[in-house]
């Protein structure tokens, strides 16, 4: 078990900097999730930690060791691949034992550890089977078993849930979380799915274009996003963004409506409102002419336009809004975000 530290890390493919310069500290025992859109460099970063991609510049530490020049095997990490990368010609047992065998562990020791890991992951009945005879979910467990059995310093997960169907994904998500609490090993988990990030992480790293946008707990990322990108990426449906002018009474929309927002700033800004932070308003507020109603059961999504901007509000199902109807919506107190219109940075 160890921390992972990246200092001034730079990665270049050809002439293109995929990671210009990055500093990050992942604490011991921590469950860290890298999240971001495709091409943001999250997988590259994970592969750099694994030792599958060479570092262009900067330093990488696992524990106190600088591991830049160590092979993946020497770094004492284990990795669960997106396609699981099980050895097709080996049984489940052999798959799990292989890494230990390569490290010259004693036969008896290997057997104890494989059986223990298999018991923990409930794959004991599968030990004699080959990967092609397993379902997707079972393969996923074997891939985790292969990592667990090694008892490494750091676990690396490269989008391990993306090949599972929705129901199974939810289940395995919970199991990985439980596993991490039980093993207390440092885990780094890459995903493009913000639900996975929010539900599993101790801390989240939001990446874009190889640059860290924000590092924080799920709560921090959700409630105090560093900038417009993070605010829009985390949360589903996405945050609504409206161009406003800030004045003494609050934020004035382009159609003249004044929304009460507490701020001392003046001038143009971007107002961010999460769908769940709209609330029915008696008088004043936005006049939202409903374009589309999506009842989800527990709540209902209402689509409407504010000027040229399409917005979504999450309302209680008993509101029973109808298409074409006009709702008056306000913003829950203290839940509005303001962003700099140029830089996108959140205004305090």
């Amino acid at each position: 078990m160890a921390s992972v530290r990246l200092q001034g890390l730079r990665k270049r493919f050809g002439t293109h900097d995929v990671i210009p310069s990055l500093d990050l500290e992942i604490n011991d025992h921590e469950f860290m999730v890298f999240v971001g859109p495709s091409g943001c460099g999250k997988s590259t970063l994970l592969r750099i930690i694994a030792g599958l991609e060479p570092i262009t510049e900067g330093d990488l530490f696992i524990g106190d060791r600088r591991v830049n020049d160590l092979t993946p095997a020497q770094r004492d990490i284990a990795m669960v691949f997106q396609d699981y990368a099980l050895y097709p010609h080996m049984t489940v047992y052999q798959n799990m034992a292989f890494g230990l065998e390569m490290r010259h562990a004693a036969k008896a020791d290997i057997e104890t550890r494989v059986l223990a890991a298999a018991r923990m992951l409930e794959i004991e009945p599968l030990l004699k089977r080959r990967p092609r005879d397993l379902s997707g979910g079972q393969r996923q467990r074997v891939a985790m078993g292969r990592a667990v059995v090694r008892d490494p310093q750091v676990f690396l997960f490269d989008e391990p849930l993306s090949n599972l169907d929705a129901q199974l994904r939810g289940q395995v998500r919970g199991e990985i979380k439980a596993l991490s609490q039980r093993l207390q090993t440092t885990m780094v988990f890459v995903t493009h799915d913000q639900v996975e990030a929010m539900t599993m992480a101790d801390r989240i790293v939001v990446l874009r274009g190889g640059v860290i946008q924000q590092v924080g707990t799920p709560e921090q990322i959700y409630s105090t996003p560093a900038n417009r990108f993070v605010a829009g990426f985390i949360g589903s449906p996405s945050m609504n963004f409206l161009p406003v002018t800030l004045e003494a009474g609050g934020a004035r929309l382009e159609d003249g409506t004044l929304l009460p927002v507490l701020t001392t700033r003046r001038g143009p800004a971007v107002l961010g409102i999460r769908p769940e932070h709209f609330e029915p308003a008696g008088e004043g507020g936005l006049a939202a002419q409903i374009l589309l109603v999506e009842p989800l059961g527990a709540d209902t999504l209402v689509h409407f336009n504010v000027g040229a901007v399409r917005c979504i509000a999450r309302v209680a199902p008993d509101t029973r809004p109808q298409m074409g109807e006009t709702l008056r919506l306000g913003v829950a107190p203290g839940k509005a975000f303001l962003f700099d219109p140029e830089s996108g940075v959140r205004l305090g």
């Binding site: 030792g51 993946p72 990795m79 699981y84 990368a85």
Partner: protein, 270 residues
């Protein structure tokens, strides 16, 4: 009914074509089993009393087994050499995604044998190696090595990269990931490479024609001598031909399904 008739037509044409392909081989085997009177009968006889006298005569009057031994040694050793050189080269080329081995391989395949033969002859003559197994094995490996690379490169390429990475994370060095992970995954390719290498080395004529002597002569070169003597002895000639063709045919037919898949894979990938 339209579809049925069409299918019958297709099958009928296939049967005719297959018989046409088979005819020369069947004719060879039939002639080898005919007595000297039957084999030169005109019109040719289809009903005849089969005899093994051509084979016994061939094996008694010529050192057929010695030639067969030469063929076996030269083809076997050149195949092993081709595999020993080609497996690691194909793996390295696949892992590093470099294309030069394929390029060199193809070029070596494209050049006519006479392009290499003069220098080989000069050098081996100077070294006193003309007529030795060493010279024949080395030159025949120039046939087997390209075949091994040609068959194995696409096979290695088909292994998902993540599996090789997993082996790396599990602690395999380069040699061990080749030996323990990659090679078992291309086992059918390996069989095809071995068999094709052996067959084409067994069949290759030109190098041995120049570089072998009486003691190291392989069957295909010895067969050429039978032709001179055999102008009157068709039965004996066909008996020799049958025996020489037998090992490649048996080997190839034993793995026919994989062989066809392997050939097509290499070719379709270009």
């Amino acid at each position: 009914m339209n579809k049925r008739i069409l299918h019958i037509l297709v099958v009928a044409q296939l049967v005719v074509v297959a018989l046409g392909i088979l005819f020369p081989i069947v004719w060879m085997v039939m002639s080898s089993l005919k007595s000297s009177a039957d084999v030169t009968a005109y019109p040719p006889s289809f009903l005849f009393k089969p005899t093994l006298e051509n084979y016994t005569h061939l094996l008694e009057t010529t050192p057929f087994f010695a030639y067969a031994r030469n063929s076996l040694i030269e083809s076997g050793a050149s195949t092993i050499l081709g595999l020993a050189l080609g497996i690691p080269a194909a793996y390295a080329a696949s892992v590093t995604r470099s294309s030069w081995p394929a390029l060199v391989t193809l070029s070596a395949r494209m050049a006519p044998g006479t392009l290499f033969l003069v220098p080989w002859y000069v050098v081996f003559k100077a070294l006193g190696l003309v007529g030795t197994y060493a010279a024949l094995i080395l030159t025949q490996a120039a046939i087997t090595l390209p075949i091994v690379i040609w068959v194995l490169l696409p096979a290695f390429d088909a292994i998902p990269r993540s599996i090789l990475e997993a082996a790396l994370v599990d602690g395999c060095g380069v040699l061990r990931s080749l030996w323990r992970v990659a090679l078992p995954l291309v086992s059918s390719g390996l069989v095809i490479a071995t068999i094709l290498g052996f067959v084409f080395s067994w069949n290759y004529f030109l190098f041995a024609l120049v570089l072998s002597d009486e003691g190291t002569k392989p069957l295909v070169v010895a067969a050429f001598n039978y032709i001179g003597e055999g102008s009157t002895d068709w039965g004996g000639l066909m008996a020799a031909a049958t025996l020489i063709a037998l090992p490649p045919l048996v080997l190839a037919i034993a793995v026919q399904r994989w062989l066809v898949a392997g050939l097509t894979l290499g070719a379709v990938k270009g």
